[in-house]
Symmetry: C2
Subunit: 237 residues, 2 copies
Amino acid sequence: MVFNLGKHSSSQFNQEMEAIRSDLLRMGGLVEQQVSDALESFLQADSALAQQVQQVEQEVDELEKHIDEECARVLALRQPAAIDLRTIIAVSKCVADLERMGDKAAKIAKLGIQLNEEGSLTTGQVEVRHIGERVKTMLHDALDAFARFDAHKAVAVAVADNDVDAEYHSAMRSLVTFMMEDPRSITRVLKLMSVFRALERIGDHSGNLCEQVVYLVSGQDVRHLSPADMQALLEQR
Amino acid sequence: MVFNLGKHSSSQFNQEMEAIRSDLLRMGGLVEQQVSDALESFLQADSALAQQVQQVEQEVDELEKHIDEECARVLALRQPAAIDLRTIIAVSKCVADLERMGDKAAKIAKLGIQLNEEGSLTTGQVEVRHIGERVKTMLHDALDAFARFDAHKAVAVAVADNDVDAEYHSAMRSLVTFMMEDPRSITRVLKLMSVFRALERIGDHSGNLCEQVVYLVSGQDVRHLSPADMQALLEQR
């Protein structure tokens, strides 16, 4: 279903679609770096790196606006259909998730700076590293699934999110115990809890990206399905 | 810019646009009720009402899918332009925010049930009521601004969000003090903090709805602007 597009404008259209896809991947790469730097700045108590993470946020916000503008322009002028239309819709959902991940990365960086100043905690570092690495992998794989139109890889990320959630809850329970044993640590432990919460949310948003990849590739809306149900749906195709 | 639409299909198109708008308002009304019931169930320790709130979540999720489907169908078949296209884009962003508000309402209800079982706290109830009422008003006003195409009302909601954020931080600080004075209350206070966080997020999402209303009415993307800058942009028009 391509409407009134001559050869010239059709190849222009393909270029525009490719630009939107590559802009999304660029935004994704930027957020991936932001998450990675946020984690390092937190674990290495590197306040300079943390400040850098916070500065990238504006760039991410601008990319979100730019990509949404491009999507609106293509919708208005090109009447995309089928997979092109689904790409535009999916990209428009994904930028919102990426922008929020950028927010969370900036938050982790900010909490890191605060905790450096207040005196670091002896607890939770291993778990931050561990969960942090897992959500970094989830985000990376989600972007990879988008780049390769790989719905199966996308579902695998959704499965990984279940594990991260379990580890997150376990880390939070340990922190509650720590607080009870040393009430003077409460303010700092609450900040550490916020770091875990931000990481867990980055995992959730990576899961959202993957739902959009499945939609984009298969046309199936798998939001609010369990990973097992997603898998089953894909295998029916 | 209406392409190849005869009188008949043009009036059908208007009906479809109207259906999308009214479905969004119906989803909004449902979430508004969910937030209101979640708040009451929490404050009145009404576990039956809390369970009801959790059950509505599925209905909200289904509406999100349905509305997105309708938006994709209109984009594919009708090539909407100008304000119609902006409506579709804005609605598609808004459903994601409404769905997350529904999640938060369900979370408040769930935490209420847990706190009922663990023994209620003597602190924070007044603040939950107060902040809860404010975010309910924000959500109501955001939906009203959408229904009336009222960008100025939308900006007023964004201003209100600043106040809610200040009250939220104040309530959280009091809870930290409470925890330090009575470490046995820690687990329950953490749950109360989650309730405040959920309310604050509902306020944020209401602010997001309003940014979409401004976009829909004016074509201006005001995300990541301060309320004052939004106001200035509207007055330039």
